[in-house]
């Protein structure tokens, strides 16, 4: 059922919600959270659909704040959707016009469920610091999506600065199935230490960066992030071990192939996660995601530092990956042919120096 309330106020909306409950027996008291979706007018239907589907797992009240034109007199148009048009949730769409468009929080406060957590979601562009946004301030959890921003990598970079407990990004959620498969891989023997990692994905994929950051952080080994054409998302992860590489590789048909030394290749369906799945997963946990925070603050810089130094190959570029060291030695040898013996020795010494470091780390891990 869809009820339109043009040029209205929040008290009229509340009244109409109560009367709906009394008339139709629509049960709203069991809702576990309020979800606020902040979008531009017109761009909201896809997000509402995802929220409605996710509501089958987490029945919620969905408040959509659609910002309309800032010209003209302030006006609030509302629409209430319940029953078949709203999944297991109830949806209140608020269209804000004029000056009101910048004061979405004021229209939202009276409609929040008592005592229930608030989740804010910006499906498109998000505020610079979500936690300082008037709507973000009211929310326990703030969901952004770097991949839908105009410049995904820049958006992801800004998350590092703007992070406050309760923030999360769908680029991180999209990785869960990948991370699960990788963790399951390492549950199996032989429990060898990993020497280095290569992560490949689209050049504009923030998820791939996060994956590289997560692996660098957890495994404490150098992670190489290689870039493929834009728009392809995550492509592969290779974990190099002494006995041979373990790899998880997704082709275009969203089939992933798992290869391990001495074992047959195994296939598994690994489609890109739907928005519905991601939102449902986000709503499953409402506390701060410390792991995401660490990956943002410590993991990403590690990968970035490695990438930067890889561009101009100085000694510090080779953070001790044995194959890198070998390559460096060979490069040094080649250089020696052209240059004097003295410089070659210097390069060799420089390249060889950091090699013992990871061995010391291994002993402690």
């Amino acid at each position: 059922m869809i009820i339109d309330l043009p040029s209205t106020t929040t008290s009229a909306i509340n009244k109409s919600l109560v009367s709906l409950r009394e008339k139709g027996g629509a049960v709203t008291t069991g809702r576990v959270l309020t979800m606020v979706i902040v979008t531009d007018e017109g761009a909201s239907e896809e997000s509402i659909a995802a929220a409605n589907e996710a509501s089958f797992e987490h029945p919620c009240r969905v408040i959509v704040i659609a910002k309309g034109s800032r010209r003209g007199a302030p006006r609030l148009d509302a629409q209430i959707r319940v029953g078949g048009d709203a999944g297991a949730s109830e949806v209140i769409v608020l269209r804000l016009f004029g000056e009101l468009a910048d004061h979405g929080a004021s229209a939202m406060v009276p409609l929040l469920l008592p005592d229930a957590p608030v989740v804010a979601w910006w499906p498109g562009a998000s505020p610079a610091i979500p936690a300082d946004d008037p709507i973000g301030k009211l929310a326990q959890r703030r969901i952004t999506d770097a991949a839908s921003a105009a410049r995904p990598l820049a958006a992801m970079a800004s998350r590092v600065e703007s992070y406050r407990p309760g923030d999360t990004d769908l680029s991180w959620t999209r990785l869960t199935t990948w991370r699960g498969l990788l963790a399951a891989l390492l549950d199996q023997p032989p429990h060898e230490s990993i020497q280095s990692v290569t992560v490949a994905g689209a050049s504009d994929s923030p998820s791939t960066d996060l994956m590289a950051g997560w692996l660098a952080l957890r495994l404490k080994v150098p992670v190489k992030r290689t870039k493929a054409r834009a728009g392809a998302g995550m492509q592969s992860v290779v974990l190099h071990r002494k006995s041979g590489p373990l790899s998880l590789n997704r082709d275009e048909s969203s089939t992933a192939t798992l290869s391990a030394p001495g074992q047959p290749d195994r296939n598994v369906a690994l489609p890109r996660r739907s928005l519905r799945d991601c939102i449902a997963e986000e709503l499953r946990r409402l506390d701060a995601d410390e792991v995401y925070e660490e990956v943002l603050k410590k993991g990403l810089p590690k990968v970035a530092a490695a990438a930067k130094s890889a561009k101009k190959p100085t000694a510090s570029a080779f953070v001790g990956r044995p194959t890198d060291v070998k390559e460096a030695r060979e490069a040094a040898k080649a250089a020696a042919a052209a240059r004097t013996v003295v410089t070659a020795t210097r390069a060799k010494r420089a390249a060889g120096k950091p090699a013992p470091r990871p061995r010391a780390r291994k002993a402690t891990s």
């Binding site: 576990v32 798992l258 074992q263 047959p264 195994r266 995601d289």
Partner: protein, 509 residues
């Protein structure tokens, strides 16, 4: 030696799903109803949720003359019809690559050799790594021969870095002695920690929530004892008859079929003390502790009731009586309704009776645990004010419409003081999840992960038979027929009389 830690696992990382390691499952009796309606859909749903390992394989073993493709078709149809999650061609394709079918009977050595070769082939081509679960969806009478065959063909052999597990379904015997025999048979081939007994009730979210309700909240634990609780009623009612299960059901009856496993497990979870942790060992310790203290009343016949449904009208349809069902002898004395009263001799529950009832062709399908509280010791109202006030109750609805109801008195609006019962309701369907996993999904995944908390062990099974055996014996001695009750009602009058003797009544669930 400490287990090697996985650097990618972090207790704070609650998103990370637990995916089973390389493994496969072999289903004996794969043509049966349970396998088609529950196991195959559950396996597909797990795959669809990405919780099965790449290369997972499913081997069917049965007498039918099927090729792998025929078997694949059967699974396909079962999945399409019964699975919970939407059908995805892609997931299906990868899963179906791991399907194999082995034809044979249980006494056929060659068939088991073929099975062994099939598993070896799967280890090589699919990378199942020698990890196999054997699901016995077969009558217990076939357990000895299948176990023997598995041992003979070397399939039960335990190797380092590989596991073999066996999954068995109820009934776990029909009395203490047979349960011990059965345990001995299975344990002669598989060590106790590799034996997983499926009690699908324990896989249900509501049952697991019972632990959260009791031990995560401050609100309920203080009243969870004999000071406040008058008695507890645990009910499992079915509206269906025995259907096509005559061969299984006749001679077994409601008490052995349902009370021995499901209801006694619910009783254990309701009555047990707080475990020191949710470690499987600690949880089991508390359950066995409370089960070992369950006592039966002296006069067993006066504190139990049994019944058998007769034909009649139920829910707008004409149904047959038990004795008229196909395959049931006209003189059968098997009960289709059983109610028993037990006491739990602990400080917490001294003097609080637990009433357990189960039956077929009852009013509606419902399972619940109802804690009925004592009346307030003093009522500052006149007698007429509280005439309509019943006892407070806390009801845990296990199925359907999972949730919790609290009943208490409330003033009826108006000038006079009149107190009447009202219900406060928590419904899972409204607060969470229409999409909660099926019990079988959870349990199959736990088997593959080797996570034993939700599976009763030998000791619990034997303890529950110790509770039921004297009652069955008393019923057998009496020798008479069970009391009749009309289909669609809530059991025989003798069950109401049994409660009336204690001055109580059954709830209408």
């Amino acid at each position: 030696m400490a287990a090697p830690t996985n650097p990618l696992r972090d207790p704070r990382d609650k998103r990370l799903p637990r995916i089973a390691g390389p493994s496969g499952i072999v289903i004996f009796g794969v043509t049966g109803d349970l396998s088609r309606k529950k196991l195959m859909p559950a396996i597909y749903d797990l795959a669809n949720r990405g919780l099965l390992p790449p290369g997972f394989s499913l081997v069917g073993f049965a007498r039918r003359d099927w090729a792998n493709e025929d078997f694949g078709q059967v699974v396909h149809d079962a999945v399409k019809q019964y699975s919970r999650t939407p059908f995805s061609e892609e997931v299906w394709r990868h899963l179906a690559e791991g399907f194999r079918f082995v034809q044979g009977t249980f006494d056929d050595d060659a068939a088991f050799d073929v099975l062994a070769a099939t598993l070896k082939e799967l280890d090589e081509t699919r990378g199942t790594g020698g990890n196999h679960a054997f699901y016995f969806s077969i009558p217990p009478s076939s357990f000895p021969v299948v176990c023997k065959q598995l041992a003979r063909s070397g399939l039960a052999e335990h190797k380092l870095d590989e596991w073999r597990r066996v999954v068995i379904e109820k009934p776990f015997g029909h009395d203490l002695a047979s349960a011990q025999d059965l345990n001995a048979v299975v344990n002669s081939v598989f060590p106790p920690e590799s034996v997983f007994r499926i009690d699908h009730y324990l896989g249900k979210e509501t049952v697991q929530n019972l632990l959260a309700l009791r031990f995560a909240n401050q609100l309920f634990e203080p009243i969870w004892n004999a000071h406040y609780v008058d008695h507890v009623q645990i009910t499992m009612a079915e509206d269906i008859g025995i259907g096509g299960r005559a061969g299984y059901y006749d001679g077994i009856g409601a008490a052995r079929d349902v009370i021995q496993n499901h209801l006694i497990q619910l009783l254990a979870l309701t009555a047990m003390e707080e475990p020191v942790s949710f470690d499987p060992k600690d949880l089991r310790m508390e359950k066995t502790k409370v089960l070992s203290q369950v006592q039966l009343p002296k006069d067993l016949l006066a504190s139990t009731a049994r019944g058998q449904y007769t034909g009649g009208w139920q829910g707008g349809a004409k149904v047959m009586g038990y004795l008229e069902e196909d395959g049931i002898s006209a003189t059968s004395t098997t009960e289709t309704y059983a109610a028993i009263k037990v006491l739990v001799d602990t400080r917490r529950w001294a003097g609080v009776p637990f009433y357990l009832r189960a039956g077929k062709r009852l009013g509606r399908r419902v399972s619940e645990i109802a804690m009925v509280f004592k009346r307030a010791p003093h009522l500052p109202f006149s007698h007429t004010d509280t005439e309509e006030l019943g006892a407070n109750a806390l009801v845990i609805r296990v199925q359907p419409d999972e949730g919790i109801t609290i009943r208490f008195g409330s003033k009826v609006p108006g000038p006079s003081m009149e107190v009447r019962d009202v219900s406060m309701d928590f419904s899972y369907g409204q607060s969470f999840t229409e999409a909660s996993p099926e019990a079988y999904e959870r349990l199959i995944l736990d088997v593959l992960l080797g996570e034993p908390s939700l599976f009763p062990q030998d000791e619990e099974v034997e303890l529950s038979w110790r509770i039921l055996d004297p009652i069955e014996k008393a019923w057998g001695r009496k020798g008479s027929k069970p009391d009749e009750y009309a289909a669609g009602t809530w059991g025989p009058p003798s069950a109401d009389a049994m409660m009336a003797r204690d001055g109580r009544v059954w709830r209408r669930p």
